[in-house]
Symmetry: C2
Subunit: 497 residues, 2 copies
């Protein structure tokens, strides 16, 4: 008999929220403020609190309550929270506590070893750790396996629910078919001159412009903070405290600008979640891919368009007159869209970005499903880069060692980035039918675009799943064709093909 | 039978440490970074974690363990930790949980009302809250009372162990006797011209100089951070992460400088605690007064001396040539020591500071021991300011409403500030016999002074009590005469009396 009211869960949920908030703040602090030698000591506190945060929701009492809740009587919000909680149980219950602990320790050691391996440009010292990580991930997936499920599908599902290999194979298959030939044509076209972006740009002035830019995009400084960190990121503890970071480079104007726009996209999503949902399990963006769809919509679809820059560019020229006085708007925007097949994912342009992800997706499939040995990975990596991007890493640190994800135990995460791009293009396709997007951008009325996204996506947090949000907004299921079409149209135009 | 090993306490102590660290970081963040509208939401997490931190150490399991520990077998460190824990139990066990919760809520409401009352310059809206706060504090003290103990002594003991009214009456009595006549003479002497300190001093340059200054004082930036906040403060989560803040004013050069020196004094103490003690209950400074003794030693005894500024002043002039070019070192140092009897404690000079504290001490005694009514307090305040400092507040916000302490439930805290000054002077008296302090300062060898303090005070954290530290360093019990003597000698010299 189901006899428990949802309210019985509240104290546990709130405790989990409180501990999660503390951990987020501590993580933010470690990345933006903490002094060099603090981490070893602070780690003791972090370790204890992480464990506590995990057990706040995963414990026998909560399990018993969950088992006794009558789902019929729940509101949509309560249902969504319960669903999320049950998923967490399913994932963690399958794994013996002891192995979970070992895995946590392995990840933290592997991340340190990866850092050193990257620094020393030596995959061999990291390889044994990666081997163990893969073994654990396969074992964990096997625990959760039902019937004919594939292990990599189980891993993928952890990050982006219900986007498995079948769908991703089709998606990346199309990319391969359409984007690689397009990239080839682009590579043969006349190179775009973007050298003016790499003059000296005073950092104080960059900061000023980037703060202005974030505000222009709608970032609410009463509910948010911008700081600096080695790698840009967004974090939030609730919809009234959302934080982004940027990294400024003296000899690169657009690195900070594009990352400010990207992170502002994430931040607008979080600031836009409804008050009623914030500080609950469904108070954040719906998924990694949906989050990336927002950040990349702002960064790429809008942020690299001429219409976006029309009202803004004069202010940028005013900020850097010496450097930009002789650069017309058209030249600036073309430079923002320069394509260059290269080695590093995080520095990739809009066109090649998904090919970087494709390499990783195929490699992960091989490690999990096809028994590729860890030893082979650097060579497999290099072959794929050669095949898809036409470039070959000279050093392991520019190749197989470039990303942190695997060392943190995240195998199956990368495809979210590519899905995010595709979600964004599908959303954009519908949005253009309902809003005069280009006109609005030209007139500096970007807030009306954000309002549209807020209405259809942001406000729901994780109350609805990505597939549902997409379907309700665009009227159809996930369809990567819009993304392919968007890329083709855009880059044929940019490169006059 | 005592059968429990101290180790049984460790998981509880570590959990308390972890939660305390999180709360400290969150508090720091709220004061230095958080956006305007965040606090209402973050407060939910803070409330839950504060409660949790309290219960981490105060709970039936820990109580049972404490009862079963064989103290004979403990190390000095373990003994000190246990003693601190027992004191915490004594304090909190006497008070019914329900009343503790009510009091917590009252404090948080009273603090908000106090803010508004100060803003509106209207004591009457705050008075009913202060009345309740006093009633609670008296009630709590009564719970802990044994035999003939006085209630105010019990409150005082909470902040500074074993410094009760008997000793404080004697201390403030001497101050009254010696300092008030001295202040009178100073007031009749020729006024010091410090107008040049209030020219325009560019904030960016002030920041640069203050960072240099902190480093010069020995603040270790690998283990610490300097940020900005409304009111300067120091906080730390362990000896490898100690943080101070400063507030810069465009038209005031020395406000930031003196607060940087003051907070650096606190920070040097915390950075100097031994690794073996940090992150334990005895891993912080020995007491409020001992902490103030360090901050005020650096700020006043050293930081306002000509010897200290001899190697530094050229750098300051170089930073602000336009403003200071025509100001010789002697004039600068005299300006730093200008005495002006005035209304606001936090802006008081070195000579009058203790008189501000004396007013508060006498008022607290009257509220707790002599049944002074809350209604009378503003008038009593004003009378005492007139009597001791010769000035009368025109508005309540410059009088009875100026300090936050009472609204937070801190009655009995103020005397620590004055004791800190007296500790500092006593320590200085001994130090001068063992170190050529003035020579060291002139030669920029301040690190040797800090080394001395580290050796005798900092490294012990709260392993030893203030009285013990003082006795071991100076060879005698607490003796306020050194402070009186120091003030007299100094200000007779400054004012050529």
């Amino acid at each position: 008999m189901k006899t428990c009211s949802f309210d019985k869960l509240l104290p546990y949920l709130e405790r989990g929220m409180a501990l999660g908030t503390a951990l987020n703040i501590m993580d933010w602090d470690a990345n933006t403020a903490a002094p060099e030698e603090a981490s070893e000591y602070t780690a003791k506190a972090l370790g204890i609190l992480s464990q506590e945060a995990f057990c706040a929701l995963i414990n026998p009492e909560v399990k018993e309550i969950i088992g006794q809740i009558d789902e019929e009587s729940l509101s949509d919000k309560e249902k969504a929270i319960l669903k999320k909680l049950k998923k967490e149980y399913k994932r963690s219950e399958a794994i013996p506590a002891e192995e979970m602990r070992e895995f946590g320790e392995l990840c933290s050691r592997a991340t340190r070893v990866w850092q050193k391996a990257k620094q020393d440009n030596d995959f061999s010292i990291y390889a044994p750790y990666l081997e163990k990580l893969i073994a654990y991930k396969k074992k964990f997936a096997a625990y959760a396996k039902k019937g004919e499920e594939k292990l990599y599908d189980i891993l993928l599902d952890e990050y982006e629910e219900s986007f498995g290999m079948k769908e991703l194979d089709r998606f990346f298959g199309k990319l391969k078919e359409e984007i690689i030939p397009l990239l080839k044509k682009v590579s043969e076209a006349e190179e775009i001159d973007d050298s003016f972006l790499y003059q000296e740009y005073e950092i104080e002035k960059q900061k000023e412009f980037n703060h202005f830019l974030a505000e222009y995009l709608g970032f609410d400084f009463k509910r948010g903070v911008i700081a600096e960190s080695e790698h840009p990121f967004t974090t939030s503890w609730h919809n009234h405290d959302v934080r982004i970071t940027t990294h400024y480079y003296k000899n690169n104007l657009t690195s900070a600008i594009l990352s400010t726009i990207h992170e502002s996209g994430h931040a607008l999503y979080e600031q836009g979640v409804e008050d009623d949902l914030t500080q609950t399990l469904v108070g954040e963006g719906a998924s990694c891919a949906m989050h990336e769809s927002q950040s990349r919509f702002y960064e790429n679809i809008i942020g690299r368009s001429q219409e976006f820059w029309e009202p803004l560019y004069p202010k940028l020229v005013e900020t850097f007159p010496k450097q930009l006085m002789d650069v017309p708007l058209e030249k600036f925007v073309r430079a923002l869209n320069k394509v260059k097949a290269d080695l590093i994912r995080t520095e990739a342009d809009e066109l090649t970005y998904c090919l970087h992800i494709m390499v990783r997706y195929e490699l992960e499939k091989q490690m999990i499903e096809e028994e590729a040995s860890v030893k082979e990975l650097p060579e497999l990596w290099n072959q794929k880069y050669k095949e898809y991007l036409g470039v070959v890493p000279k050093e392991e640190k520019e190749g197989i060692l470039q990303d942190v994800h695997w060392s943190m135990g995240d195998i199956g995460y990368f495809p979210s980035y590519a899905l995010g791009n595709a979600f964004a293009a599908q959303i954009y396709h519908t949005m253009k039918k309902e809003l005069p997007v280009e006109e609005l951008l030209k007139q500096g009325r970007i807030s009306e675009i954000t309002k549209y996204l807020r209405e259809h996506i942001h406000r729901y947090g994780a109350l609805k799943e990505p597939r549902q949000l997409l379907k309700e907004l665009t009227g159809e299921e996930f369809n990567p064709d819009y993304y392919i079409q968007y890329l083709k149209e855009k880059f044929e135009k940019v490169y006059h093909l």
